[in-house]
C-alpha cells in the first residue's frame, strides 16, 4: 500500500510546532538558568524542558573561561562542580590563565584549577529546588516538590548527615544534577522536639554549661540545663547550636 504524501504534512506541522514550543521553553530556561529553580514549571513542562536541553545540548553545554563567575556550574573530572572564585591571570607579554576555585558538588571538596584563557568546559545541569521531606524507607529518603508533586528519592550520599535536622513535612533545598538528587541542605533554622535529655535543675535559667539533648530526629545538641524532654527548641543548623525554646 502506498501512503499518500499528504499524510506527512500534519506530522511535519506537528514537529514544527513542537520545535517552536521547545525553543520557547529553552529561552525561558536560559532566562531562569541562574535562578534557584524553574518555580512554576509543572511536571510535564519540566520534562519538555529536559528534552529541549537534550536537543540543544551542544549549544548550551559549553562555557568559555570568559563566562566563568561565582556560582556557575560546570563539569570537571566527570563531577558537577560550582565555581567559587575566578581570577584572570596574565603577564603583560604572555599566556593568559584563569585560576579557578571550585567546589565539587558531589563531595563538597574545594579544589583549585587552572585553565588556559579561552578554553571551554562542559556546563553541569545542576539546579536547586525547594522540596518537602516525606519519609525514610530504610534505604532511601523521599522528598516531594510541593508545587508539582514530583517525588525524588535520595540515597545516603545525597542526604549525608543533613537528615538529622529533618523531620517529616519540613521544607528544605535539594540540588538536582541531571534530574537526580545530588545533595540536600536543611533550612538555616529548624524547630525540633527534645526526645531525651537528663532532667536538669528546676529554676536554673543561667544557661551556662548546658547538657546534651537528643532530638526527635536523632541529632544531639547542647542545650541549657532548664530544657526538658518534650519541649520544642530552635536550632541553627549551620553551627548545630541551640538558639531558643519555642513556645507552643
Amino acid at each position: 500500500m502506498r501512503i499518500p504524501i499528504g499524510c506527512f504534512l500534519p506530522i511535519a506541522a506537528l514537529l514544527k510546532q513542537l520545535r517552536s514550543l521547545a525553543m520557547r521553553l529553552f529561552q525561558r530556561l536560559a532566562f531562569d538558568k541562574n535562578q534557584r529553580a524553574i518555580n512554576s514549571a509543572s511536571v510535564s513542562a519540566r520534562s519538555i524542558v529536559k528534552i529541549t536541553i537534550c536537543l540543544l545540548e551542544e549549544k548550551m553545554a559549553k562555557y568559555s573561561t570568559n563566562e566563568f563567575k561565582a556560582g556557575l556550574k560546570i563539569m570537571l573530572d566527570q563531577d558537577p562542580c560550582a565555581i567559587i572564585e575566578n581570577e584572570f591571570i596574565k603577564p603583560g607579554k604572555g599566556q593568559a590563565f584563569n585560576r579557578v576555585k571550585i567546589r565539587n558538588l558531589k563531595n563538597g571538596r574545594v579544589i583549585e584549577r587552572t585553565f588556559k584563557s579561552g578554553e571551554s568546559v562542559d556546563g553541569a545541569d545542576v539546579m536547586d529546588i525547594e522540596v518537602q521531606y516525606l519519609y525514610n524507607d530504610g534505604e532511601f529518603w523521599h522528598f516531594m516538590e510541593p508545587e508539582s508533586y514530583e517525588q525524588y528519592q535520595a540515597d545516603s550520599n545525597a542526604v549525608t548527615d543533613v537528615v538529622k535536622w529533618l523531620k517529616e513535612q519540613d521544607i528544605c533545598t535539594m540540588t538536582l544534577w541531571n534530574d537526580s538528587p545530588l545533595s540536600v541542605s536543611p533550612p538555616n533554622f529548624v524547630e525540633l522536639a527534645v526526645a531525651d535529655t537528663d532532667p536538669g535543675l528546676k529554676g536554673d535559667t543561667s544557661g551556662g554549661g548546658g547538657k546534651p539533648a537528643t532530638m526527635e530526629t536523632g541529632a544531639v545538641v547542647r542545650v541549657p540545663l532548664f530544657v526538658q524532654i518534650g519541649e520544642m527548641i530552635r536550632i541553627d543548623t549551620r553551627t548545630g547550636e541551640y538558639v531558643s525554646r519555642v513556645k507552643e
Binding site: 570568559n66 581570577e87 584572570f88 591571570i89 596574565k90 603577564p91 603583560g92 607579554k93 604572555g94 599566556q95 593568559a96 590563565f97 585560576r99 584549577r113 587552572t114 585553565f115 588556559k116 584563557s117 579561552g118
Partner: protein, 324 residues
C-alpha cells in the same frame, strides 16, 4: 551598595590620580623629555598572539577602513624617534581585548617613555627614580635581580634551559600539577605559569623589584643581549609582586623585527587567530633608522593601586569595565 551610575572608586582617588599625572609631567619636564601624542586609532597593530585588540571601522563607503585601538603607543612613538624627536614620553589610554580581572581592565592608562642613548641599566635607574617619587617610598626598598637568579632562588629550576622532566617534577611537588597538561612542551608557557603562580607571590614582600635579563624566548620587542644570547635586554617592574611595567633596550633591526612579526603571525595561525598585516610604516621607520634607545611602559592604574591598600583596579578607577 553603589548605584551603577556612580564612580567605582573613592572620589579621593581622582585627586591622587591627578596628582600622579602632574608629578609625572614635572619629572619629565625636569629631564627635558618631550611629551607627545600619537593616535589611539591606528591603521595597523601588533602581531603578538598573546594580545587581543579592538578593531573598528571608519565609514567611507564603499571601502570601510579598519582601524585598531592600539594596545600600546609603541609603534607610533618609535616612528617619532626615528624622525629625530629625541627622548619622548606619552600618557594615554591603551586597549586590550578580553583582559578583565582584578588587575586587568580592557581600557587602561599607560605611561610610555623612550630614552635615546640610554642602555637598559640607565632606564632601570630612571624608572626607580620615578617610582620613588610617585609612591614616596625610600630608595633602599628597591631591589634588582636577574630573571635567572630569581627563578632559581624560588624554584631551583633553570629558566633559560628547558628540562621538561625537571619542570614536571617541580610542578608535581609544588601544587601546580595543572601546569603539566596545560604547558606540555611549551617552554615559554611554563615560564609564564611558574612566574605567575610561584615567583610573583614570592615578590609580595618587596615594595619595588626590578627583574632583568628575561629569557630570549620571551624577548618580545627587546634586543637579544650582545654578550649572552640566551637572554633578552628586557626588564619588568614589580610592586609588591604585581607587574606594573615592561622595559626594553629597543630592537632597531628592521629585518629582525619583520622576522618576529612573521613568526608571531605563524603562531597566530596555529592558534587559529586572524593574522595581522605588518605595520609597514613602523617597519619603514626602522629601515630608515631608529636611534639606540631604551623604552618602558608603566600601567598608571596599577601604580595607583599600589599607593593605597586596595586590591582591585575597581578601587582606583572611576568607571571600570562594568560601569563604563
Amino acid at each position: 551598595m553603589k548605584q551603577s551610575w556612580e564612580p567605582a572608586c573613592d572620589i579621593n582617588y581622582l585627586r591622587i590620580r591627578a596628582q600622579m599625572m602632574s608629578k609625572i609631567r614635572c619629572f619629565f619636564e625636569d629631564r627635558a623629555v618631550l611629551e607627545v601624542e600619537t593616535p589611539l586609532l591606528c591603521s595597523a597593530t601588533g602581531t603578538d598572539p598573546q594580545l587581543d585588540f579592538f578593531s573598528s571601522y571608519f565609514h567611507s563607503e564603499p571601502d570601510n577602513i579598519e582601524l585598531f585601538l592600539q594596545t600600546s603607543p609603541e609603534f607610533a612613538m618609535k616612528r617619532l624617534l626615528a624622525a629625530g624627536s629625541g627622548s619622548i614620553y606619552q600618557l594615554c589610554k591603551a586597549f586590550r581585548n578580553g583582559e578583565l580581572g582584578r588587575y586587568h581592565n580592557p581600557e587602561f592608562s599607560i605611561l610610555e617613555w623612550y630614552r635615546v642613548d640610554f642602555n637598559l641599566n640607565q632606564l632601570m635607574d630612571e624608572t626607580a627614580d620615578l617610582i620613588v617619587e610617585l609612591l614616596g617610598i625610600s630608595a633602599e626598598s628597591i631591589s634588582k635581580i636577574s630573571y635567572k637568579e630569581l627563578f632559581e632562588k624560588v624554584t631551583g629550576l633553570n629558566p633559560l634551559f628547558f628540562n621538561q622532566k625537571e619542570y614536571v617534577e617541580y610542578a608535581e611537588n609544588n601544587k601546580i600539577k595543572d601546569a603539566i597538561l596545560l604547558c606540555g612542551d611549551d617552554h615559554s608557557m611554563w615560564l609564564d605559569f611558574i612566574f605567575s603562580y610561584k615567583i610573583q607571590p614570592a615578590l609580595k614582600e618587596q615594595t619595588l623589584c626590578m627583574v632583568y635579563g628575561y629569557p630570549a624566548i620571551q624577548s618580545s620587542l627587546a634586543r637579544i643581549n650582545q654578550s649572552d644570547s640566551s637572554v633578552a635586554d628586557r626588564f619588568e617592574v614589580f610592586i609588591k609582586g604585581i607587574e606594573v611595567g615592561n622595559g626594553f633596550f629597543e630592537l632597531a633591526d628592521a629585518v629582525e623585527q619583520e622576522r618576529r612579526f612573521d613568526q608571531e603571525n605563524s603562531a597566530r595561525q596555529i592558534k587559529k587567530l586572524r593574522t595581522i598585516n605588518k605595520d609597514e610604516k613602523f617597519l619603514d621607520a626602522l629601515r630608515y633608522g631608529l636611534p639606540d634607545c631604551s623604552g618602558i611602559a608603566l600601567g598608571i592604574d596599577r601604580l595607583l593601586m599600589s599607593i593605597g591598600d586596595v586590591n582591585s583596579l575597581n578601587d582606583v578607577m572611576a568607571f571600570p569595565f562594568n560601569r563604563a
